[in-house]
Symmetry: C2
Subunit: 346 residues, 2 copies
């Protein structure tokens, strides 16, 4: 059987903030059966992840493209790979059979063809919705877990600041930090998000950074005793203000710098005097380096989800054609929680 696969591509490289006009919905016929000798797997995509870092892959040049296997440049006109969850339609690989639910590197489209060696794993939903396996139980969750526990190495009672705290990773960092026994303040870009962080997710406090006249004094008000850990999802001035308010032996986990993604000139220039005298560590990381922690992370997080101690925060658009607007929304601060697109019903 042959169907028409619809997928999203970029028309040309995207070097600034992304716009609808940068994307196109393309179609190509795809056979839903395999030649007898094939060892590929055909997956019908169900949920695909929408992540800010993809913008770095869309640029005509970014040093990131050569430094991570997950950040290789995207070719205009071609399918864009992404983490996602789907169902096996046909398999030439003995590890998979038709009907298996899988998670792996699929594409921003309706179907994906996974070649041997491609990232693909059978998925046991563990009784949770499949969407959890794209967000809270997948890379967003692992990023928060590894970044907080492995990079920040928290101690109970420490003061934690999280930027983009209602984002896919930030909301989980805050929840893990609260469960661990830290004092947690988040910032976000609207009063609704701020209320949500405080009332639903149990943050000790939160503020709308767009209403802050001066970030340094704002942070001083929220952290009269200083910041021990800053989980940085935004970079820029917020990082500078956090370093300014940091305590001795403070740690900055640099997870994302969305302010730099679309404007390379907009850099953080934290005081290196503070870095020295306060013995601050600023460390970048990628979740992909912590796959050895995945089992710990997964078991712990499943337990917290069952008890209700962690609340998954999802922002789901529907249909392959909504991928561009879903992606663009990330750069406009319009998402609340993990952004993903539901491509099809199981």
């Amino acid at each position: 059987m042959e169907v028409i696969n619809r997928y999203i591509a970029i028309k040309t490289h995207v070097d600034g903030a992304p716009e609808e006009s940068d994307f196109e919905l393309k179609t190509s016929p795809i056979a839903l059966s395999l030649a007898p000798a094939s060892n590929e797997v055909i997956v019908k995509n169900l949920y695909v992840s929408i992540d800010p870092y993809q913008i770095n892959r869309m640029k005509s040049y970014s040093s990131s493209q050569k430094n991570s296997e997950f950040a290789v440049g995207i070719v205009p006109g071609e399918a864009i790979d992404t983490y996602g969850v789907g169902k096996v339609v046909a398999s030439g690989n003995p590890e998979f059979e038709k009907g298996d639910i899988v998670g792996g590197l699929v594409s921003w489209g309706e179907y994906s063809v996974i070649k041997p060696g491609g990232m693909l794993n059978k998925l046991n939903p563990m009784g949770f919705p499949l969407s959890y396996h794209v967000g809270v139980l997948a890379f967003s969750g692992l990023t928060a877990y590894a970044g907080f526990f492995e990079i920040c190495k928290p101690k109970k009672g420490e003061k934690v600041f999280v930027s983009a705290a209602s984002g896919s990773v930030g909301n989980l960092v805050g929840q893990y930090a609260k469960l661990f026994g830290c004092y947690v303040v988040g910032c976000a870009g609207s009063q609704d998000k701020v209320a949500f962080l405080k009332e639903k997710l149990g943050f000790d406090d939160a503020f709308n950074y767009k209403e802050a006249k001066d970030l340094k004094s704002t942070l001083k008000r929220y952290f009269p005793d200083g910041i021990d850990i800053y989980f940085d999802n935004v970079g820029g001035e917020m990082q500078e203000a956090a370093v300014d308010n940091m305590n001795i032996n403070g740690r900055v986990a640099v997870c994302g710098v969305i302010s730099e993604y679309t404007d390379d000139e907009k850099r953080a220039a934290p005081s290196m005097m503070d870095v020295i005298y306060k013995r601050i560590k600023i460390q970048g990381f990628l979740a992909g380096d912590y796959l050895n922690k995945f089992a710990d992370f997964f078991t712990t997080t499943c337990d917290h989800l069952r008890t209700g101690d962690i609340k998954p925060l999802e922002d789901i658009s529907e249909g392959v054609e909504s991928i561009p607007s879903a992606f663009i929304s990330l750069f406009r601060g319009q998402n609340v929680g993990k952004k993903m697109v539901k491509i099809a019903e199981e």
Copy 2:
């Protein structure tokens, strides 16, 4: 017996680059004997250390002043404490007696009175000149040793870049790194210094940063395979260029940022995109946190000095009145190696 103690003070706070007119030579009578009940120690200073970080203590305000016990603000008109080596003239403290050679927190002057609890230790010169105990065998050495081994955690064969490589700490970092089996390139501010690093100290290569048109491409030329470790003594653009040329899992030890000391606006703004994708760690440190490594450092370094594997690099001025010009020379790049002032013959 009473003598006139001559010492150096600042006239007012110093908020830019230091000038001769910022300092004054003061005098005050000092008794070289103690009252019977006194538990103080009077030290005749022999060598005093001249360090760039003192500028941060001279400012009217610097956040550094509240974050380290060694960085408390200096009061205009009063004696300025510093590390140094001297000889006990009189002691009310049973741990010391007249004639003891000691190292500790003395002052930029001819005599120091050390109160109980003040930093003071008996010194065994181990057959080395006393000046070694102000530089290579004291805090400059410990800073290089702890910064390189504890913060950078080097592996054999790694590529190491050191800025201000002919400075008190930089020259030792390069020498330790070479002995450890790393590839080492240093930068300095004159052709003479560059030649010295290559010919006398065994650096694999070195360059004059003042002749570099573009720091990023210069570093790319010296490190075609990238930088694994950057030992940062200067901050600013050099740090940005080093991060740009850094390999995955690169480490930046931030030891000093002399470019920021006299101009707070002159900040380093390394690409946080690089920090993330290359998983770079930027870490500030103070040698005072590594006193538990002092015995290791001291024994190892004494051995290297005896075999000639480490060459001490000293820049010694003479006489208390030369302290201001010695200090100012640090900010003009005029020193080669550890700057100190010899106050008196033993």
